[in-house]
């Protein structure tokens, strides 16, 4: 018995010594010494495929100037990426490039985590990407990194359900929200409760992840362009009181809650694949819906229209940006890689596998799906240009988003005093942003 335990131990130790063999890609033996740049990014199998091709081509450009460069990817789930980047910085680990969520570019730039790249991108080069992307990737007038892709949202819908409810889809304009708007009337037509038990089998509207990307627009849409509600935060980027809880915004939050509890056209909790599973008639989401539908739900009959709005049509834009960490020891190679990956040549691969709205102007102006007026992607580009705004400019975005998520969850849970809740969270957001005072001086 003891002898077998000892043997087991020996075997285990021996095997584990072999288990940690990772395959380091070896480059050519002549020429410059092999350099490895490490990229910290979100875990996404489609992006993984895209980057495989990007790296392969990167090593062939300019007559193989970068053939000696290995690119390794460290991947994290979405919720863990931000802490992972902060940890990498704190331990001065050898990460060279980090994919930073757009609104966080400011946060990292403020903390001098990522390098200012203004000197390395000419004005001509910057035209490669949509202006909204440039704004998102900048801080205090300096440019910190080009975008991976872009995004905007549309209201996707189940064509069959719309037909059955008798809704006219010839006009793609967005419906107006509010107790008297046609959005409510249409959602009510689409909500089906056959057995009359009070719980609809099909909801008119769907519910998404309760964070700022999807629901930050609710309050903003309620204000006129340039109003406090529309801005969501003061120009100093840290004062939310009076903006997040502006009176029109509170009205809009209240209505969202009413859609769940009073009019019952929306579910209280998120339901995965709600529309594709036949549980909602519409879905407010980015253009990734098209890829999902093609891959997983090929029989689903889907189209899109402009999203709902209160006073001002609006949708959030933005995506990941490439940021080069201050602590990098391989700046030249990292810069070259970033430039290539974000260029039209590199972004082409991301489009190929991920099928998400590119940030490269040339791409979305030439790809068939975006140019064809019948295709929903064309509508997406139009809406992006008409109503797309980046998320709010604040160095405290992570804090704000965490608080926003809490606020929205409580709202969706049926909190009775909506105004009080909004005011409370506006105060907390302001408080948590105070540490960044003077950030944009």
């Amino acid at each position: 018995m003891k002898r077998s335990l000892l043997c087991l131990l020996m075997i285990v130790l021996a095997v584990s010594l072999f288990a940690q063999g990772g395959s380091e890609a070896k480059s050519s033996t002549q020429g410059p010494k092999p350099v490895t740049i490490r990229v910290l990014k979100i875990d996404d199998p489609l992006e993984a495929m895209a980057f495989r091709d990007i790296v392969a081509e990167f090593r062939t450009i300019e007559n193989g100037k970068y053939a000696h460069v290995n690119v390794e990817f460290d991947v994290k789930p979405f919720a863990e990426l931000f802490p992972a980047i902060t940890r990498a910085v704190a331990t001065k680990s050898d990460v060279d490039i980090a994919m930073v969520d757009g609104p966080n570019v400011r946060h990292f730039a403020f903390n001098k985590v990522i390098k200012d790249l203004s000197a390395h991108f000419s004005a001509e080069e910057l035209k490669t990407w949509a202006p909204q992307s440039i704004v998102e990737g900048s801080y205090a007038g300096k440019f910190y990194g080009p975008p991976l892709v872009q995004s905007a949202q549309l209201l996707w819908y189940n064509v069959d359900m719309f037909e059955q409810a008798g809704i006219d889809t010839s006009n793609k304009d967005g419906w107006k929200l509010g107790p008297n708007g046609d959005a409510l009337a249409n959602f009510q037509k689409l909500t089906i409760d056959k057995d009359g038990d009070g719980t609809p089998e099909v909801f008119g509207a769907n519910t998404d992840g309760p964070w700022d990307y999807f629901y930050g627009v609710v309050g903003r849409s309620a204000g006129e362009k340039g109003s406090n509600a529309y801005k969501l935060v003061a120009d100093d980027g840290i004062t939310f009181t009076g903006y997040f809880d502006a009176p029109e915004a509170i009205e809009a939050y209240q209505f969202q809650q009413d859609m769940v509890y009073k009019y019952k056209v929306k579910s209280a909790q998120e339901i995965t694949n709600q529309m594709f599973a036949g549980l909602s008639a519409t879905h407010f989401y980015q253009d990734m819906m098209i890829g999902t539908q093609k891959d997983l739900f090929p029989d689903f009959n889907m189209d899109a229209m402009e999203p709902t709005y209160w006073t001002t049509p609006i949708c959030h834009t933005g995506s990941w940006h490439y940021g080069i960490l201050e602590s990098t020891k391989n700046f030249d190679e990292a810069l070259a890689f970033v430039k290539f990956a974000a260029s039209d040549a590199g972004a082409k691969y991301v489009w190929k596998y991920k099928n998400q709205f590119p940030a490269n102007v040339n791409l979305y102006n030439t790809i068939d799906e975006f140019v064809d007026p019948e295709n929903p992607r064309h509508l997406l580009v139009q809406y992006f240009q008409k109503a797309g705004v980046p998320r709010i400019a604040t160095p405290a975005y992570t804090e704000y988003n965490t608080l926003f998520t809490e606020f929205w969850r409580s709202l969706m849970a049926g909190e009775k005093d909506v105004a009080g809740l909004a005011k409370k969270y506006a105060a907390e957001m302001t408080k948590s942003a105070q540490q960044y005072k003077g950030w944009n001086k």
């Binding site: 946060h107 903390n111 579910s267 339901i271 992570t398 804090e399 998520t405 849970a413």
Partner: protein, 293 residues
């Protein structure tokens, strides 16, 4: 008089070699981090910005005036009160049940244990789906019986007990096994003589069985306590501390403050306070079971 092994004083000190590998592990991987944490708690530290300034006991003073911290401790205490008695009592009942000489108990033992070894992340997601107010199966069943639907994870009153119950469901298997092992060691003849003496089943259980497995009971209580205070995954996956901070247990709160709000020094000082509290709780629990170690 115990027989002792002969040896001189020098060899006595060598005896610690038995424990040195383990002690080395604890020193490097447990104490060193704690000392680092303790030192950091005296600074205004953020992961991104580094050490921003020495503030001595500043963090600790803030803690006791911080309503968010006190609220979170309150939630944790309530969670503890939902979780620990449930796990212990359920482990006892199930342990007794699967020790009966009846057909199928092996099967029961296995299926109760299966949740223990499965991924908490996926388990949380599955339960989240099952408990959904509109489309979840549990509510569909409730409605079939004419009962009202309950928004388990969305209601400030039900969210915390629901998360506790999910954790109980997942973890009770292991405690149950410890109880079963303990019950196997109880001498059956004790039961027989008590039964012949006319004692009722309940009396037998209370006066004979429970004391005989008191060591196992202590283990599972302390184990459940530690788990209750470290509960994190279901809350991060299902509720994010909500709704309205109803499930904002202390570990989640600390994680939030440290990683999302960038106040690592403050977060660490809260954990030191938590450490002290847990120490006291464990000491009390051990005294309750009247063992001195």
């Amino acid at each position: 008089m115990k027989t002792r092994i002969q040896g001189n004083k020098a060899s006595k000190y060598l005896l610690i070699l038995f424990a040195v590998p383990a002690l080395l592990n604890f020193l490097v991987f447990r104490y060193l981090p704690i000392f680092w944490a303790l030192r950091t708690s005296f600074y205004d530290y953020s992961l991104l910005a580094g050490f921003r300034g020495f503030i001595g006991l500043g963090n600790y003073v803030t803690i006791f005036q911080d309503s968010a911290f006190l609220q979170s401790m309150g939630v944790t205490l309530r969670y503890f009160l939902y979780y620990v008695p449930s796990v212990v009592i359920l482990a006892l009942i199930l342990g007794m049940f699967v020790s009966l000489p009846k057909p199928g108990v092996g099967f029961l033992r296995a299926i109760i244990f299966i949740p223990v070894v499965t991924s908490f992340v996926v388990v949380s997601i599955v339960w989240g789906m099952l408990l959904n107010k509109d489309v979840g199966m549990v509510n569909a069943i409730l409605q079939n019986f004419g009962l009202p639907r309950i928004p388990f994870l969305m209601n400030t009153k039900t969210a915390l007990p629901t998360v506790a119950l999910i954790s109980v469901w997942k973890n009770v298997g292991y405690s149950m096994i410890i109880i079963v092992a303990g019950l196997k060691g109880v001498d059956k003849s004790l039961y027989e003589s008590a039964y012949l003496d006319g004692a009722s089943s309940l009396r037998i259980y209370w006066s004979i069985t429970l004391p005989m497995i008191s060591r196992q009971l202590m283990f599972i209580t302390i184990w459940a306590t530690l788990q209750a205070f470290q509960s994190f995954v279901p809350i991060q996956t299902l509720t994010g501390g909500g709704p309205n901070k109803a499930t904002n247990v202390i570990v989640y709160h600390i994680y939030n403050i440290g990683f999302n709000f960038g106040r690592m020094g403050y977060a660490i000082s809260m954990s030191i306070v938590l450490l002290v509290i847990l120490l006291l709780v464990s000491i009390i629990q051990m005294k309750m079971f009247k063992r001195d170690y």
